[in-house]
Symmetry: C2
Subunit: 601 residues, 2 copies
């Protein structure tokens, strides 16, 4: 059976040493996040995930969820009890606002913890994870009454939340939704329609489920400008906060999926269910994007989480399994064979994983810090810059991060050879679970278009210019340091590839927007590669400084420098190839019509 | 439910127009393979696979195999009947020698048909596929008596065959096997031990199963120089060919796997089972490699097959599913949305698939032709050259082909968005089934080392020089043709990357063999990219000639040229990035010791 240890030492390095959270101590929320507090949170949180959630991962996959005839759903054995413990320990409240019962800690910590949860048990983590998404929409767009009614119990996880967007005929193109919201005399709406792919849509783990539902009011425009957001509780909530009658929303079936079997993916049938408008009519898309952006970062972290847990198990296996001899001569001559860890091709896969997970963890937590600064930074300029950076990086964290998460999980399965293909070893589950993250909350193709079609051009390219400037400054500084200069020079070349690709888009996409569409996915990958390279440069700087200072944990910092070198050697070269593909444009890509894709027998 | 149409038009293009099988008509076997015969075989074979095997694919995945208490195994509903039809139609005999009941057709046709079988139903295809592997070992190494006893019924598929290599503690490193073969007074051996991961190891589809088993005789050297190959029938075969008593080999369990559920992957327990030596004692490895090489080409074709069937379904879905609008303006303004086929990012995924599957089909069938020429070419020099080329390309076809097969199947699943993750749509199965091909018959890491550690250096690099020379000649010729010159120039650059990478190995691998191990996987991918580029150049040449000649099927040949252009634009750039990674060597890759890979809580 697979095992999991939360990488808290690495998270502490990022949070306390690289991001240096303590230096933000004058900002709201951060004052509580002193190094000893963050250490305690990460360490206790990591322990909880490893001890309570991880042991339920494989069994949850094997058992899955069961829907009963009355529409109720049972989660896998142990999930309900684990969720009780999760709730009682207050993990859901970590970075939620104090006003509604949260602890008000920085999102950096919340995201760090989310990685541990998802590594330990991705299917489980989606129950509180989706709740977070719904909370963020209500926080931003709900009325004060709605906030008071729903948020405390959602934040405590007594109730969970969902996001209801997709319908059978539309997912990406939400302008086409058909779910109707008929205004009622009492100010509520009667919601009728079918929603599909609703994660955590029905289950036995909480007393109530608060659905946030996109629907159309009568006469609304037939586009994304005509969709509104509604809050639709499974059980109506009385004035005194107690639960009232069962609302008209029922789970019609649950899907048979490739993975995340422990999470109930529901078809939800709304039949005149009572709902209340959240925010303004026809402004549902904006509210939805608030949920979505929070959720997208969370999904990016799922990519990290599956790569991490798969990596940990692959390391254990590589040290345990003995086959063949090192190319440089027997490493352990007294044994019948060497551990496969000695083989350069196995080490390549492990180093690829290590360089990705550590670098991408840094990118995710740096991104989470930008989320915090968007709200908490002292000046409008700083808040604006943080908002631009995280807006730009969100599709990269989601899209590139989950593409790589799946690839790394697959490679870690490969380390196991034939055993990796056998379900009992658990590696297949990591791959199958990682796969969904490339698809939901907007496929990675949608992320690429969000990045290239929207974010790059916004405000005259202000965000990408800020990104280039910030990275350029770090590179310039690093070039004057003997240890960092070689890394900085490699990174500078890759950044040059991204800048050239950006320029190519500027010069060609207006003339033919398909040039943008044809290169968007490549651009997202270039930006992922370069961004993580930037993060490695920042980590290498701190590691080098620590080594210069002397002190403990020398091996840890030396490994950081070695891994930074590996990243630059082995990840950055792809930026150039991707740029060349991007610059090939859309001519050969769009050359063929539909008939050329038919298979002729 | 997914559908499948055998791409017979494309296979006919390769077989009759590009490889021009008829031009080999003077060689044994080829005289029968006139264009009308190959057309008929491909067309009938394709129909059989689409109509009989494909409808059992999804149900076979869902039902899986069942082992009963007595060790017997039931295959999924319909498999037995389909195998009866397969046998009766004589499909298994296609390119087997006439001496033992085969039709003696070229392997090119056999491999083309194998793709169709595997696309339609990979799990099913493994029953006859493994039989082919066992047949090839007996053909090469069996005594005349053994051949007469087993081959006719194996070739007819009345009996099936297996390959028994892996044991719980060893797979790649076969020197460690523990299965014992004790010589008996009657000239037979008593085989005792446990073999795992035995595909098609037990089932209800044939009267007998002929196991080929690696085992050690008493006192044999404790390395690969001490393994011998034995034939161990499930039922002993009497002198008159009738079946005798049940042999001491029993299926102890079947594995729960990520995919290929329709194939029984067995633990086989040998308890003094009666076996007979095949070939010489302690020369089992060479015999095993004969099975292995045939099997590796077959596995490469599995990579092709899953990419192909996933591609076909993704095309259908992309034309059917409507979301959003083309970036260049509504393609179908009267509809509520355009088919997602109009989106450049979707087209990118489809074109990636089309360019890979058509190019890789050509590489596989060209490889199959080399297999034929190894036996049938007129001069020793031609036979030698064919043998070198297919020896060199076998790990590339297996390793690169299956890595890409999995990647393409994954991307085709991505075209489906959320629906791709739902098992009923069948896309998950294509991905899960494709995954095994990267692992079995030697992991792709083993393929990479076979290519770089053995094949590159053999006979002073004769094979790779022959490969460079043959491709160089085609490039030189194409550069003088207006249509082909741009393709040839792009390919020449990529070939230059491979040549530089080869040179780097020559200059660095002796000094530190880890440089070879660290770059082997990259080299295998460079060679895959370049080889398929070569195949595209050859196909483009024929297509251009056909267009110049006028005649039918203009759209088909134009699509070939357009896809060739796409391939050069979008696949070749990776060769340069891979070369840079390879040239980074093993320093940063091997820098860290075991302790740096431990997760610190």
């Amino acid at each position: 059976m697979p095992t999991y240890t939360a990488p808290t030492r690495d998270a502490r390095f990022i949070v306390n040493e690289v991001l240096d959270l303590a230096s933000y101590g004058n900002l709201p929320g951060f004052e509580m996040a002193s190094p000893d507090v963050t250490d305690a949170v990460l360490s206790e949180g990591g322990k909880f995930c490893a001890e309570v959630l991880a042991p339920l991962n494989l069994s949850g996959d094997q058992e899955g969820c069961t829907r009963h005839e009355d529409g109720s759903v049972t989660t896998p054995k142990g999930f309900k009890q684990a969720f009780d413990q999760f709730r009682e320990a207050g993990w859901s409240t970590l970075s939620q606002p104090e006003e509604f019962g949260g602890q008000g800690m920085p999102h950096v910590l919340g995201f760090a913890f989310e990685e541990f949860v998802s590594s330990a048990n991705q299917a489980f983590g989606m129950y509180p994870g989706l709740t977070n998404g719904a909370v963020s929409a209500l926080l931003a767009k709900g009325s004060q009454e709605q906030k008071e009614k729903y948020l405390p119990k959602m934040i405590s996880n007594e109730w969970t939340g969902t996001m209801n967007l997709t319908e059978p005929h539309c997912g990406t193109d939400l302008g086409m939704i058909r779910t109707k919201a008929e205004p009622q005399a009492d100010g509520s709406y009667a919601i009728t329609g079918t929603k599909i792919f609703i994660s955590a849509g029905e289950h036995d783990m909480a007393d109530n489920i608060i659905h946030l539902v996109l629907a159309k009011t009568p006469g609304a425009p037939d586009s994304t400008k005509g969709i509104s957001l509604f809050v639709v509780p499974k059980f109506l909530v009385n004035e005194d906060g107690s639960l009232g009658e069962r609302n008209g929303v029922v789970c019609g079936s649950i899907e048979h999926k490739m993975g995340i079997h422990g999470n109930a993916t529901c078809v939800l049938n709304y039949d005149g269910a009572k709902g209340w408008l959240v925010g303004e009519e026809n402004k549902g898309l904006a509210a939805m994007f608030i949920m979505m952006n929070a959720a997208r970062l969370g999904v990016g972290i799922q990519g990290l989480s599956q790569a991490e847990v798969a990596y940990q198990n692959a390391v254990t296996y590589a040290l345990d399994r003995r086959q063949g001899r090192a190319l440089t001569g027997p490493a352990e001559p007294e044994a019948q064979a060497d551990p496969i860890f000695v083989h350069a091709d196995v080490r390549r896969m492990l180093m690829d994983a290590k360089a990705f997970t550590e670098g991408f963890r840094m990118l995710c937590l740096w991104g989470a810090l930008q989320v915090d600064l968007t709200h908490s930074a002292q000046t409008e300029e700083e808040r604006e810059q943080a908002d631009q950076l995280i807006g730009l990086l969100t599709p990269v964290i989601k899209g590139y991060g989950t593409d790589k998460g799946y690839e790394i999980a697959t490679n870690m399965q490969q380390v196991y050879g034939g055993h990796g293909y056998i379900e009992e070893w658990g590696m297949s589950q990591f791959v199958r679970d990682a796969r969904i993250a490339q698809i939901y909350e907007g496929t990675n193709g949608v992320q690429a278009m969000d990045l290239c079609g929207r974010k790059l051009a916004q405000k005259g390219g202000a965000a990408i210019q800020a990104f280039f400037k910030a990275m350029g400054e770090d590179i310039a500084e690093a070039k004057s340091d003997e240890t960092l200069a070689p890394l900085a020079e490699q990174l500078e070349k890759a950044l040059g590839q991204q800048q050239a690709a950006t320029m190519w888009f500027m010069q060609n996409a207006m003339q033919n927007p398909n040039h943008l569409g044809a290169g968007a996915h490549h651009y997202m990958h270039i930006m992922g590669i370069v961004s993580i390279g930037w993060m490695w440069l920042r980590m290498a700087k701190v590691a080098a400084q620590k080594l210069e200072d002397g002190g403990d944990d020398k091996a840890f910092y030396e490994a950081k420098l070695a891994t930074a070198r590996y990243y630059m050697d082995r990840y950055l070269p792809d930026a150039g190839a991707l740029r060349r593909k991007l610059e090939a444009g859309s001519d050969s890509l769009m050359a063929l019509g539909e008939e050329a894709f038919a298979t002729a027998a």
